[in-house]
Symmetry: C2
Subunit: 242 residues, 2 copies
């Protein structure tokens, strides 16, 4: 087990790590699809929407587009995701799509997230380090009861993970050396970038983030400082009492 | 009484409005002064330090200096404040001054702040809109138990109040129209700028922020939407149950 005594802050990936976006988004898409008599499976639409996520971020990470917050990208991606499942987005009133875009502000936590974060908060500064924008993260946290000490992430530093600036500028905002920060994520790529920036790393297995047939992030691909199945176990490993 | 039904977020000035910086800073300066056999009154040093605050911000608000976070300005101002009370700052080890600078991260709330904020949080998004930097605000909140939903403020938008960009960019971050936001402050000037940007306004009387002989902000200088003596009363006025 790694030594956690120097760690002052735990920064969390959120989509997939702290909240179950797939189930939450699909559950909210279902009544929308029914209302419009669209036969598409809500999980297929949720996956189609999420598949547009990394390519949209790539445009900004690659410098081909100035930073815009994730709400804007989600709204654009919704239209192309609808097209992917055979729906003409122009057939839906724009205001209804604007409202539908807010499903990402109403994501349910994994069962261990709130109790785990409550314990971790007793000893560490805890904050999201997500690509989600500040309002999105605030809405998710308020609704789900995620007890963050601050809302950090892409919008604060105007860059998207896994660009190294995100980790570096966030350490600067916190006034901490990288080794005083631990990144917590269900995604090996996020942790790899954080480690390259000097952060400590904790991998949380979320084997059904993408549903029962998930193929990726089913195991720790490096010797991360901590590897756990849930945030309550992380709290125990880091010495936070129940 | 004004109508609060359209309000979604309450944004708070912090120094003086939510926390009693003067008493907190003086209490922490006392052992430092005693240790160095400095005869200065801790309140005098606290006031001298705070007097440097607005002129330092003016350099940035006026565009003569790029944005730096308040921790940096406080550290610079500490040296000149010490000089003002007759102490050569070069006589104190730099590391000790760095540590002393963190007194601003350990400020006590007014007695009504935590219970008031807890009630207000039930109905509104609550966040600081302070000139304090993110880490400073996070440390103050964590220690004092201020239940913020997010940490907003100068560092997020890279500008200092009462520059209008602070209010305007924060409304943009929140995705809200200005009239959906209420600024809460003990300072008429902060509220005047917020109102000019279209925010609703709530004045909280803090008659001893500057001690028993305070001369400023002893009354509401405009017809602010709400005028209260403490945050519990604000919660009652805004319909938040006890």
């Amino acid at each position: 087990m790694s030594d956690s005594t120097a760690i002052q802050a735990l920064l969390f990936d959120v989509f997939g790590t702290v909240v179950d976006w797939r189930t939450s988004v699909a559950a909210q898409l279902r009544p929308f699809l029914a209302r419009h008599n669209i036969g598409a499976d809500p999980y297929d639409l949720a996956h189609a929407w999420r598949r547009k996520y990394q390519p949209a971020l790539d445009e900004i990470r690659g410098g081909r587009r100035p930073f815009v917050r994730l709400d804007v990208l989600h709204r654009e991606n919704l239209e192309s995701a609808l097209a992917d499942v055979g729906v003409d987005p122009a057939s839906i009133p724009a205001g209804e799509l604007d409202e539908l875009n807010l499903v990402w502000h109403r994501l349910d936590p994994w069962p261990d997230s709130v109790p785990g974060l409550r314990r971790l908060k007793q000893r560490f500064i805890i904050a999201p380090l997500s690509n989600g924008n500040i309002r999105l993260m605030t809405d998710v946290a308020k609704r789900a009861g995620l007890p963050w000490d601050a809302i950090l992430g892409a919008e604060v530093v105007q860059a998207y993970k896994p660009s190294h600036e995100v980790y570096q500028r966030t350490a600067d905002v916190l006034g901490m050396r990288p080794q005083e920060i631990c990144m917590v994520a269900a995604h090996n790529g996020d942790l790899a970038a954080a480690r390259q920036c000097g952060f400590r790393t904790a991998f949380v297995l979320r084997a059904t983030e993408y549903g029962p047939n998930q193929k990726t992030n089913l195991r720790a691909e490096q010797d991360w400082d901590w590897v756990v199945d849930d945030l309550e176990t992380l709290a125990t490993r880091l010495g936070c009492p129940a």
